[in-house]
């Protein structure tokens, strides 16, 4: 109930913020531009549309998750709005969770709007498009939730610019850990091997959520896999939120 109040307020803030609409506008524009690009390609037009659509949903989702996420807690502290909240009978972790869920709610709305536009476009080109793209969108959404939690973690102790840099790096690294591990396993040094292996399991593996290429080329992705990836996402988010809560619980609001 209290968490919901914070979440709804966070959602309301995002909705009344103009940045969101700007990003949404660009996202829709980008999906629409895939029509144009599709025309330039000989052969499989829907492939381009699918590629562009999924990429836009993912890219703009990440932008919103990072840009809104990094300011989520910091802005409350900087503008001292947090003072009145903490003085109310609410645990700090409830506040944090509320902020997180508020942004997730924002992302849900944003992803739903973009996906609707994207799928309508697909239906225009194909009478019965392969609905496996929904699986890809589902996993993109889980990736967005994970990135949001990382942004929130950094935002709970660092300035927005630093958080932005950190989160963006985590996003990039999160897509490269697989390569990191592979490079490490080629190394002759056992230490390097172990370190890269350790990093591989420690850092978030965002490639787990990337089934875009499979879906676009109609390579089957089992629900079992989706379930694994989603569980991975939820558990990782739980860890990140837990760490954020610990940091947030201990800090002074000067």
């Amino acid at each position: 109930m209290k968490i919901a109040a914070i979440a709804i307020n966070t959602f309301r803030e995002a909705v009344r913020d103009k940045i969101l609409y700007t990003l949404l506008f660009f996202a829709i524009a980008m999906i629409a531009s895939s029509i144009l690009l599709g025309k330039l390609v000989i052969g499989d037009q829907t492939k381009i549309i699918k590629d562009m659509g999924l990429a836009s949903i993912s890219l703009f989702g990440v932008l919103i998750a990072i840009f809104v996420g990094i300011g989520l807690v910091f802005k409350e502290i900087e503008r001292k709005t947090i003072y009145t909240i903490i003085a109310k009978p609410i645990q700090r972790y409830q506040f944090l969770l509320g902020k997180y869920l508020g942004l997730i709610l924002t992302l849900v709305v944003e992803v739903v709007i973009m996906s609707t536009g994207f799928i309508l476009l697909l239906f225009y080109y194909e009478p019965s498009p392969d609905m496996d793209i929904l699986k890809a969108i589902l996993l993109i959404f889980f990736e967005l939730m994970l990135i949001t939690s990382i942004a929130l973690l950094f935002s709970s102790f660092s300035t927005p610019i630093m958080s932005g840099v950190f989160t963006l790096s985590m996003y990039v690294i999160g897509h490269l850990t697989g390569d990191l591990k592979m490079l490490g396993s080629k190394s002759e040094s056992a230490a390097v091997k172990h370190i890269t292996e350790f990093m591989y399991y420690l850092l978030p593996n965002l490639e787990n959520f990337n089934i875009k290429a499979k879906v676009v080329h109609n390579i089957p992705v089992s629900w079992g896999y989706i379930l694994y990836a989603m569980s991975y996402g939820i558990l990782y988010i739980a860890i990140i939120l837990l760490i954020s809560a610990i940091i947030f619980q201990r800090r002074d609001f000067k």
Binding site: M1, A5, T84, K88, I90
Partner: protein, 307 residues
Amino acid sequence: MNIIEIKNLSKEFRVGFIMKKIAALTDLNLSVEEGEIFGFIGPNGAGKTTTVKILTGLIYPTSGKAWIFGRDIRDVNIKRDIGFLPENPYFYDYLTAREFLNFYARLFSINKREIIARIDTLLDMVDLLKYKNVQLRRFSKGMLQRIGIAQALINDPKLVILDEPMSGLDPIGRTMIRDIILRMKDQGKTVFFSSHILSDVEMICDRVGMLFNGRLKDIGKLDTLLSTRVKSIEISASLMDDIYMESIKRLAANCILMDEKLFVVVNNETQKDEVLKIIEKGNGQLISLIPRRETLEDLFLKEINYR
């Protein structure tokens, strides 16, 4: 049972790159009784806000303890009965006054029907009822301070903590806040407020605590706090023979001749009585006798000079 009980409370901040320790509050002992208006005064940077932040759970003390309603301040449940207005508050300016109060009400799990009624009552009390659907970004500083107070009262608290509620307001705004605080007292609430504007405190507080450089210098009822201090008395009289004038000069703390009149300042009642006797003997005429009550301002300045 005291509403607020503070024992040996200290807070150190670590600042800068080398994490140098700075004491913001040192060994504070304080209690606030039920139903009183307690004024917490001191110059800027004295540690008032630090104390308030510790009481509301925004920061943690380095050492010492504090209780509100007899329960440890770390217990979140005590906050059900606390209202808090921070210094220079900023609020979610994208919300309207009504949405704003509704949001805070929901943090207390107050039921919906009650919320609606209470919001209107509070908006009426702080004279903002006609702005209830206006976004806070259009509010003036005084209006924000008032909606802030309404926010602090949303849960009908037993204790209201206000940090510098009058700073930055015009005289009308300050009067309004003063009236609201007095009304809270009438409703049986305990009010703890900090200020560096002494006239406000003097007018409405039952008791005050004075803070300098993180240490409590004085605490007590305003009257006793002021009456224990030596008051001065200003006497003016007509001119007399030099013999009498000389003996008055010897007694007085200060004595000047001006406009064919004698102005004498004495420090206590006995001196006053003696001066009056001399005037009588010398057939002088007493023009006026003004006891100068020491103000908080004087106390303040004295403290500052003292250091």
